[in-house]
């Protein structure tokens, strides 16, 4: 495990880089054309005709074999075309190929009851999976052989219209990718292999995104979008609003997406507290709960505390204000308590909230019976939970909620972005970086920290108000410690302090379990493992804040440089 033997290994690999990559690419393509399963599985043919079926027509490769084919071709391209930081790109593609092959092999093996399913059985052979795995591993090794150089940096500047076009196209591609990801494996119980298809798709996406990021495209794009902040948010929101018109535009995904949005808005609020001001909050979901309870009590539901209904906007504002007041109260110990000690204060508050809500404190929560029957929102007579038609296009039920929530998320993103790049935001970041130095610069740290809590809690309260109407029931069970943890995980997974990070994190944390539904029993276990792995390989989060990204890249670069020097020495 010493550095000596690592470098020796690397140097041994170095001359093999390109040949391995070439072999990996070719084998990948071959794998795509081979059959993968030796017999039809119990639940019907493995999707996309991979059961004992060879490549049969020019464009006859679909599904995961199509992904394998694409990866194989990309590996060949990356091996021979002039690509910046080739090693990284090849390695990422190799990982993608490995993951796709592994997921399919593992699933077939399990479902088929043995390795015979992916090798040879009763005279039938199907080595596609094995070849794919070999190709993937070869390619990863090739990546190391070529050498892991720093991520490519794109220095060239482009004019604003071109930048807009690039952003438009890129975000359009993101929309397409999201829709594709949501709909892989189909909706409902139609496809018994949906879970595996999704994981396989995820492997493909990991490979391609890794390659794009290795080339430097992702970094360039995110710098570009930070530069054109307003335009980016508008385009992103517009893209999100187009989602109902894609394949993912059905009631189920609208519901899931709306829930993601609610949690994303809350996570953005939490991102102010954790990401900007650097205050760990382990009881944050309580503010969302407070917002939801306030909204429910003013909704005219049968068991509400107040016997009258306020218009939603009014109730939502009250919800935000009440949550904000509680936020300031919870934040006030920050005047004296620091760091992880503060985290436990927030955890304590969260527990106090759940317990009190469960016991119907003050008659506001209806205890364990919850407040059911919170009416759906409606606007001009259109109920938000019914489907609507625009012209000839019939949109699925729940689409109005989705639109409302997209706007809510866009608004919270704007709030977050504006605050981040302001006097207040700088003060928060300064506190996060070095509290004493911040005070020495004249920042009233106590006031600023309470302000962070207050604003964060208000955003959560607002999201909670929407939550109450969207779900129709407000029960303390929706606001337990695990939810706080999930929110925190969303922030950190997405990338602390980064604007799109919280949204991506929330999306991942809510989509992943949804797509893993088919694994039933194993679902949460896989989820736990996924958290560990993501943190392991991407500790700064998926879309780190520009500043933090630099921090990390630099460290990686140092490693890479060291490795390079060592390799040369050897």
């Amino acid at each position: 495990m010493s550095t000596v033997d690592t470098s020796a290994k690397r140097s041994a690999l170095a001359p093999l880089g390109k040949p391995f990559a070439a072999a990996g690419g070719v084998l990948g393509i071959v794998a795509a054309l081979l059959p993968w399963v030796t017999f039809p599985l119990n639940d019907g043919n493995w999707p996309d005709n991979s059961t004992l079926q060879y490549f049969d027509a020019p464009f006859g490769v679909t599904g995961f074999r199509w992904h394998v084919l694409v990866l194989g071709i990309l590996i060949l391209v990356a091996a021979f075309a002039p690509v910046p930081s080739r090693g990284r790109v090849v390695r990422a593609l190799g990982w993608g190929l490995t993951l796709v092959s592994f997921v399919n092999c593992a699933y077939i093996t399990v479902k088929g009851g043995g390795l015979g399913a992916i090798t040879a059985l009763e005279g039938a052979t199907a080595f596609g999976g094995v070849v794919g795995l070999v190709a993937g591993v070869l390619t990863i090794l090739a990546g190391y052989g070529i050498g892991i150089e720093p991520v490519g940096e794109w220095k060239f500047k482009i004019s604003t219209p071109v930048a807009y076009l690039v952003l438009l196209l890129s975000f359009g591609a993101v929309l397409y990718a999201v829709a594709a990801m949501l709909t892989t494996g189909g909706v409902g119980s139609a496809n018994p292999y949906a879970g595996a298809i999704f994981l396989s798709f995820l492997g493909f996406a990991t490979g391609v995104l890794g390659a794009l990021s290795g080339v430097g495209y992702v970094r360039w794009l995110s710098a570009l979008s930070e530069q054109h902040r307003v335009f980016s948010v508008i385009v992103l929101a517009a893209c999100a609003l187009l989602l109902p018109f894609t394949e993912a535009g059905n009631e189920y995904w609208m519901t899931v997406a709306a829930n993601i949005g609610i949690y994303a808005a809350t996570a953005i609020g939490l991102n102010i507290v954790v990401g900007l001001a650097g205050l760990l909050d382990l009881g944050y979901v309580a503010f969302m709960g407070i917002g939801a309870l306030v909204a429910a009590n003013f909704s005219g539901a049968a068991t509400a505390y107040f016997g009258f209904a306020l218009p939603f906007p009014v109730a939502a504002v009250i919800a935000a204000v009440v949550a904000g007041i509680f936020g300031a109260i919870v934040g006030s110990p920050t005047l004296r308590v620091r760091g992880d000690y503060l985290a436990i204060v927030t955890l304590a508050f969260g527990e106090i909230f759940t317990r009190s809500a469960q016991n119907d404190i003050g008659g506001f929560t209806n205890g364990s019976n919850a407040i059911p029957g919170v009416p759906a929102l409606s606007l001009f007579g259109a109920e938000f939970n019914k489907s609507i038609s625009i012209g000839a296009v019939k949109l699925p039920a729940g689409v109005l909620y989705y639109v409302l929530i997209v706007l809510l998320v866009a608004a919270t993103m704007a709030v977050f972005a504006n605050l981040k790049f302001s006097r207040i935001g700088r003060a928060w970041i300064a506190i996060r970086e070095d509290e004493d130095a911040a005070r020495a610069m004249g920042i009233r740290t106590g006031k600023m920290k309470i302000l962070a809590f207050l604003i964060g809690a208000m955003l959560a309260g607002l999201a909670g108000a929407v939550f109450a109407h969207k779900n129709g029931t407000v029960s303390y069970e929706s606001f337990k410690f695990l939810e706080s943890v999930t929110l925190l995980a969303a922030v950190i997974l997405g990338g602390m302090g980064s604007i799109p990070g919280a949204v991506l994190g929330a999306a991942l944390l809510f989509v992943l379990p949804e797509k893993l539904r088919d694994f039933e029993d194993y679902r949460l276990m896989i989820f736990g493992l996924a958290l560990v792995l993501i943190m392991r390989f991407r500790p700064v989060g998926l879309i780190p804040d520009a500043h933090r990204r630099a921090e990390m890249v630099e460290r990686a670069d140092e490693n890479a440089e060291e490795a390079h020097v060592e390799a040369k020495k050897a």
Partner: protein, 409 residues
């Protein structure tokens, strides 16, 4: 550093492979599973919404597997000619919002004919309207909150809440008072202490019980709460012990009730503990339920019902030692109600489409049959008409029925 990452990834991968291998079903060769029924018209799905992961999963998995058993049997018997039935089980994590997503997922599938679930009343509250909008019948094996069917004023002004919602289990306002009558009148326990776990089921049950106890001349000497995840109850026990109760009523489920009963005895409070159907489970005794403890459950004793025995045997044959838990039999009956309603709807060889759902609601509502928990039939609110309740007592480490009847006030 980097080498480590490759290595650890390899280890993770290898261990996943091992895990995967452990879960294999060992069926080589394949094709769809046989059966001589005609399944030419396609596949229809019975949805299940229950907690399949987390700490309530024992109950949820019991619900899911019992539904699968019912569906399997129907497939074998060709109950719905022309169709193959499957179960699509969705995890709700006992979380209302997750339940809503699970229900929405099922509701967008045109082939879903009905949903069995949920376990938690709070989850039912979010699931009911979603399924109602699609006219999908929902039959709960476990929701005991009376307001789900009869609204908030269930005693004074009952009003049907959701025309797609039915349940095969009993409600708190029958079970609680029935238990109270037994405790006060039959067992002669006048001073009763109440402990609940703070959740909907236990709270509701305990509330209805305490009303009846007072009405019958008993007194509630104390009312305490244990945390859902608590394990050491000595504090609560010491507190109620000082109040000198003659019996303790526990509102909640056996995972807490069993240890609680044991700790009561250990701490010198040797009075019977009574609970609802949530503790009527052999596990209660395994976990420390002591001699003389009591439980109410719906229907006549299982030994006296051939259908109940048949269910237990079939379940054991199909799933081995895995437990069907407290609500398995109810889930089996709920599934059969849906299948029965479906068979009626598609009588005469009709094809399935979503327009048949109106008929489904009527036919499930009108279903009547004999199930593992007794008679299955629904009243005008969607509640089970099976109001027979049985009191069981732990005798020689087994549940033994001591009284069967209906609650009459």
């Amino acid at each position: 550093m980097r080498k480590h990452s490759v290595k650890s990834a390899a280890i993770v991968g290898a261990s996943l492979l091992v895990l995967a291998a452990c879960g294999s079903n060992k069926t080589e060769g394949g094709g769809t599973n046989g059966g001589s029924c005609d399944t030419s018209k396609g596949t229809l799905t019975v949805g299940v919404v229950a907690p399949l992961s987390g700490n309530l999963s024992a109950l949820g998995v019991g619900i899911k597997q019992s539904a699968e058993l019912a569906v399997d049997e129907a497939n074998k018997k060709c109950t719905v000619p022309g169709f193959k039935l499957t179960v699509s089980a969705q995890d709700d994590e006992a979380n209302p919002a997750k339940g809503a997503q699970a229900a929405t997922k099922l509701s967008t599938d045109p082939n879903v004919v009905g949903v069995v679930g949920t376990l938690n009343s709070s989850v039912a509250q979010t699931v009911q309207p979603i399924l109602r909008d699609k006219k999908i019948p929902m039959v709960s094996p476990a929701n005991t909150n009376p307001s789900l069917t009869r609204g908030n004023d269930f005693l004074t002004a009952p009003k049907r809440q959701f025309d797609n919602y039915f349940r095969v289990c009993t409600t708190d306002d029958l079970q609680g008072p029935y238990a109270a009558n037994y405790l006060v009148e039959k067992a002669g326990k006048k001073k009763i202490a109440i402990i609940t776990d703070g959740k909907t089921y236990g709270e509701g049950l305990a509330a209805e019980l305490s009303k009846q106890v007072t009405k019958k001349g008993g007194t509630i000497v104390g009312s305490e709460k244990v945390g859902e995840k608590d394990t050491d109850f000595s504090g609560v026990i010491a507190k109620i012990k000082a109040l000198g109760p003659e019996a303790v009523y526990y509102g909640g489920e056996y995972p807490v009730a069993g240890p609680l009963s044991k700790q009561m005895k250990d701490n010198g409070l040797d009075v019977p503990l009574m609970g609802g159907d949530g503790i009527f489970d052999p596990k209660f005794i395994e976990l420390g339920g002591k001699e003389g403890d009591l439980a109410t459950s719906v229907g006549a004793p299982t030994e006296s019902l051939a259908t109940a025995k048949a269910f237990v045997d079939a379940y054991k044959a199909k799933f081995g030692k895995e437990d069907y838990a407290a609500y398995g039999a109810f889930s089996y009956d709920a599934t059969n109600a849906i299948i029965g309603g479906l068979a009626k709807t598609l009588e005469g060889g009709a094809a399935w489409d979503e327009s048949k759902r109106d008929g489904m609601l009527t036919n499930v509502g009108a279903f009547s049959g004999s199930g593992a928990t007794g008679e299955i039939k629904f009243d005008q609110y969607g509640d089970s008409t099976n109001k027979v309740l049985t009191v069981y007592q732990v005798t020689s480490a087994k549940w033994k029925d001591v009284q069967t009847g209906t609650f009459t006030g």
